[in-house]
């Protein structure tokens, strides 16, 4: 298994993925022929310096952006071949995304932000009520649910963003530097929450980070440099 993990069945397969951006007369290759596989239940960290292309890779893997070429298969579904509608529905049901800058909707309360994925996927109330209670309790935001994002601290906002990513019980979670904007204590807390929910919900976690101490906790580590992805620790 190339760049693979021998722990379980393959949930994510990445083949020859290239992502380029055109800037006037030059082309920047953000991801250059990425090839790897991720197995069910794995925690994979992707490290790299700023501008190395790791966030772009994460966006492409999560189906938030399209690669220029290559194939990405998630749970046996080739997401690179899906149309935008099917991909959106697929994302809603199987993928959770945590953005670096939270990306909470400012005019919605914390609770409304958390429930956005349930609304988008037409989940009936009873299907997530219990899960929601556990989630907000675990993330310790139960008392902040009716506050607007602007009334929450950075750590609380990130926890709301994590709850939003997990509310639909995704099988795979993509986190883009979830602790990047947090102080050390908050960063550790958020990471331990993520790892705990990963274990409880048997999720696969793919995290972009430039923090080596966080990456050390991953099952495998990849490093990106100028768009090239290489395994740092198998």
């Amino acid at each position: 298994m190339a760049n693979g993990y021998s722990g379980g069945r393959v949930i994510l397969e990445v083949r020859d993925v290239i992502k380029q951006f055109k800037q006037y007369d030059s082309v920047v290759t953000a991801v250059n022929r990425a090839n790897f596989e991720v197995c069910d239940g794995e925690f994979v960290a992707i490290m790299g310096a700023s501008g190395s292309g790791k966030s772009t890779l994460l966006h492409v893997l999560a189906g938030l952006d399209r690669p220029n070429s290559g194939r990405i298969t998630l749970r046996g579904n080739e997401i690179t071949a899906m149309n935008a509608d099917d991909l959106a529905v697929f994302r809603g049901n199987y993928i959770g995304v945590i953005f670096q800058s939270h990306n909470l909707i400012p005019q919605f309360t914390a609770l409304e932000n958390i429930l956005v994925p349930t609304l988008m996927c037409n989940k009936p109330d009873f299907s997530y009520e219990e899960h929601l209670k556990k989630l907000v309790s675990t993330l310790r935001i139960a008392d902040r649910l009716h506050h607007l994002p602007s009334e929450l601290s950075g750590g609380q906002q990130q926890r709301v963003a994590i709850a939003r990513a997990l509310i639909n019980r995704p099988q795979i979670v993509f986190a883009d530097e979830p602790t990047g904007n947090l102080d050390r204590d908050n960063a550790d807390e958020v990471l331990s929450l993520l790892l705990r929910t990963k274990e409880v919900m048997n999720q696969t976690l793919i995290m972009v980070t430039h923090d080596r101490s966080i990456a050390e906790k991953a099952d495998r580590i990849f490093e990106m440099e100028n768009g090239d992805l290489r395994p740092l620790r198998q």
Binding site: D86, N122, N168
Partner: protein
């Protein structure tokens, strides 16, 4: 059959299991789409975000008001039409020219048994019989029916049932049956207007919704990132706009009722309200809203979430060093801001289009309201008479003139040049507007044309049209009628002045003499016939002088050469007396009076075998009345739509400015003074002002001319609508109002949000920094 879930095959195609699966999918879709949660969220969203949706509230309210007004007008007009038809001595069916013998036979064979049945069985409630003598002393009868059903179909059924469909009888439908046709015509127009208002509403809301989407890319990006596909986005958008529409619905119905009651009261009519229209209004609103959101949602749903989430900022300041260099290497803020116009070109195009669309509706509304008939058209004859095989004499004309309600009668006689194998030869200047219809005559170098009618100009006709001001005359019409080789000519074809005749011009009339070769006409179009004649026939030529150029109000596809009696006889070979006449009614005469006048004319005309009395002016008169009635609603409606334009500007530009707050703080941090940033916004406003003014003037004028051409030239030439001639009444004031409003709205909507920013700078800074 058990339900099996659809799945994606190895080629990523969705595989469904037959109709049960499809129905189940459809059921699931409907259940999700119409879930109460959606309704609740939509209502909450638009009420809590009222400011954000304000422009939608106003626009939808005004458009719904227009819808209700169209149907209030129809319901009131149809009630008036019905009242007119049923007042006085209106009938459903009149059968004339029934000889004594036929009359006896009819009553013995067909009508006798009917008298014993109830009206429902025999099909009529009243049967009036009138007897009269013709000029030869023969006894004739006229039967007038009031039927149990007003439809034309029922009239036809009765005609057939009672053996009234004989060739020698003249059958005509009365007011009571015609009014159904009129209502049907009015209904057709109302439906067309409803569709037009619907298209306008859908287009306006589509543009507004697109602006909203553009300003909320981040929100939609998050929705899509967390599972919203086209269906979900459509559902959300549709419910939001429908919630707005439902909240404005009853107020719009009320406003429409109020406005139309005032309008109707001013015209002396009583408005008629039909409750069923509320249901249709709801359906219309639902459809319009659905149409409005689909394009925007379709576009946004195809975008990748990352591109939407990262496009949340409208700043001109971009991270690319090369672009920044390009901006800051130039003069600030002008080049900097111009770059923004290029970068956000699709937004600005949408904004200007949406805002200008509403102002253009106003200028077009004014234009339509001011489209008016020419003065000559005021005196179009109401009845056209033909004496059949006989000739009209001065006793006939005097008799008809004496009928109460008749203003005057003029006799006429005309012949089509093509049917006489004749044509006229014109100079290049005279025929420059009809070059495509003419054929160059190689012998003379002149342009032959047969789109012409020859008409007899009697001294009586010349005197009547001059004394009543029916025609616009340039030259001496009386001198033409007096005789000699002078003629009077018209200059318009299909309502357009296309012929370059001047008083004193010479034209040549060619009349068929003999054929040189057998004439074979493979086609019947005039130009082809003319080409064949020019090649294969010989003609006599009569040169005449144009003694008068007249505008007789004719709207047909031919122009007319009016000739004195002797010249007419020479050109057409017809020296018989007058067979036709036109009857002009007194101004302001009620429609209900026309039936009586017609009966009186028929009595006089019945001395001529094969006579006809045709109410040629009836439809025209009604069309004019309708247009006059439509004027005030048109002006009010379009003025209401005009109000939407500044709202669009303010809505879009406020939202756009909000997304530039970060940029403004950044520019301030980099050393830009408030006066520099003010210049930036003023410059942006100035550019938009010029764009908006130019677009309003250009699009407004173009649209007006297109409408004028359609109603005045194209539709009549295609046989649609009444043959009414309109003047091109360009309203500089209306256009100036539109241009000024667009310009002021563009400038203020750009500058005021900046002033609001300056006022609330501290609060905005706190929000921006997340404190």
């Amino acid at each position: 059959m058990a339900y099996r879930k659809p799945y994606y095959d190895e080629n990523h195609r969705l595989v469904r299991y037959g109709p049960v699966s499809f129905l189940r999918d459809a059921w699931n879709f409907s259940r999700n789409f119409f879930a109460f949660r959606n309704v609740k969220l939509a209502f909450r969203g638009v009420t809590t975000g009222f400011r954000e949706y304000f422009v939608f509230f106003v626009s939808i309210f005004l458009l719904q008001t227009l819808f209700f007004t169209v149907w209030l007008r129809f319901d009131t007009a149809s009630a008036v039409a019905r009242e007119e038809a049923y007042s006085g001595d209106g009938y459903n069916l009149t059968v004339e020219k029934i000889s004594q013998e036929a009359y006896t036979e009819l009553f013995n064979s067909y009508l006798s048994f009917a008298g014993e049945n109830t009206p429902a069985d025999r099909g009529y409630e009243v049967l009036d019989t009138e007897g009269y003598y013709d000029g030869y002393g023969d006894r004739y009868y006229r039967l007038n029916f009031i039927l149990t059903d007003d439809s034309i179909e029922f009239c036809d059924a009765i005609v057939s049932r009672y053996g009234l469909d004989r060739e020698e009888f003249t059958v005509s439908y009365g007011e009571r049956s015609n009014y159904l046709n009129r209502i049907s015509e009015m209904k057709r127009k109302s439906v067309v207007n409803t569709v037009l208002v619907g298209v306008l509403a859908a287009a306006a809301l589509t543009l507004l919704f697109y602006i909203r989407i553009n300003q909320n890319k981040f929100l939609y990006g998050i929705y899509i990132a967390f599972g919203a596909g086209f269906e979900k986005l459509l559902e959300t958008a549709w419910w939001e706009l429908l919630a707005v529409a439902l909240m404005t619905y009853l107020p719009a119905a009320g406003a429409s009722a109020g406005i139309y009651s005032a309008v109707a009261a001013a015209g002396g009519a009583k408005p008629v309200f039909v409750w069923g229209r509320l249901g249709w209004g709801l359906l219309w609103t639902t459809a319009v809203v659905a149409l409005s959101v689909v394009p925007g949602v379709r576009i946004i749903s195809k975008k990748m979430p990352v591109s939407l989430i990262t496009a949340a900022d409208n700043s001109n300041y971009v991270s690319s060093p090369r672009v920044s260099f390009r901006i800051f290497g130039k003069r600030f803020p002008f080049h900097y801001e111009l770059f923004g116009f290029v970068r956000f070109r699709s937004y600005y195009i949408m904004l200007v289009s949406a805002a200008v669309a509403f102002t253009v509706v106003f200028s077009t509304g004014l234009f339509l309201a001011d489209l008016k008939k020419t003065e000559a058209e005021d005196n179009r004859p109401y009845f056209t008479l033909s004496a059949g095989s006989g000739e009209l004499d001065s006793y006939d004309i005097a008799g008809i003139d004496d009928i109460e309600g008749v203003d005057y009668t003029v006799w006429s006689k005309s012949a089509d040049a093509t049917s006489l194998r004749s044509f006229v030869l014109l100079t290049k200047e005279q025929s420059s507007g009809i070059t495509s219809m003419t054929v160059k005559d190689p012998a003379t170098g002149l342009y032959a044309d047969n789109n012409v009618r020859y008409s007899r100009l009697s001294e009586l006709l010349a005197e009547e049209v001059t004394s009543h001001g029916v025609w616009k005359v340039d030259g001496d019409l009386a001198a033409v009628a007096a005789g000699g080789d002078t003629v009077a000519v018209t200059r318009s074809i299909n309502n357009r002045d296309v012929l370059g005749f001047k008083v004193g011009d010479r034209i040549t009339v060619a009349t068929f003499r003999e054929q040189g070769r057998p004439l074979v006409f493979d086609r019947i179009d005039r130009k082809y016939v003319l080409s064949v004649l020019l090649n294969d026939a010989y003609f006599n030529y009569t040169e005449v002088t144009v003694g008068a150029v007249v505008d007789d109000g004719d709207t047909s596809d031919e122009y007319t050469v009016y000739m004195p009696d002797a010249l007419y006889a020479k050109i057409t070979g017809d020296s018989s007396g007058y067979t036709d006449a036109s009857v002009y009614l007194e101004r302001g005469i009620a429609n209900s009076e026309t039936g009586r006048i017609r009966n009186a004319i028929v009595k006089i005309m019945s001395v001529h075998r094969g006579y006809t009395v045709t109410p040629t002016g009836e439809g025209y008169r009604r069309a004019l009345a309708q247009k006059a009635g439509a004027r005030l609603p048109l002006i009010t409606g379009s003025a209401a739509v005009l109000l939407i334009s500044p709202l669009v500007w303010l809505y879009a530009q406020s939202a756009f400015c909000r997304k530039r707050y970060g940029e403004i703080f950044l520019l301030s941090a980099c050393g830009s003074k408030d006066s520099d940033i003010r210049k930036l916004f003023l410059f942006s406003g100035a550019v938009l002002t010029v764009l908006a003014a130019a677009a309003t003037a250009g699009i407004g004028s173009l649209l007006n001319y297109i409408i004028y051409y359609l109603v005045n030239v194209y539709f009549p030439s295609m046989g649609f609508g009444e043959q009414i001639r309109y003047d091109y009444t360009f309203s500089p004031l209306g256009l100036a109002v539109c241009v000024l409003l667009s310009a002021v709205a563009a400038m203020l909507s750009t500058y005021l949000p900046f002033l609001a920013f300056v006022r609330d700078r501290d609060r905005i800074a706190r929000v921006e920094s997340g404190e």
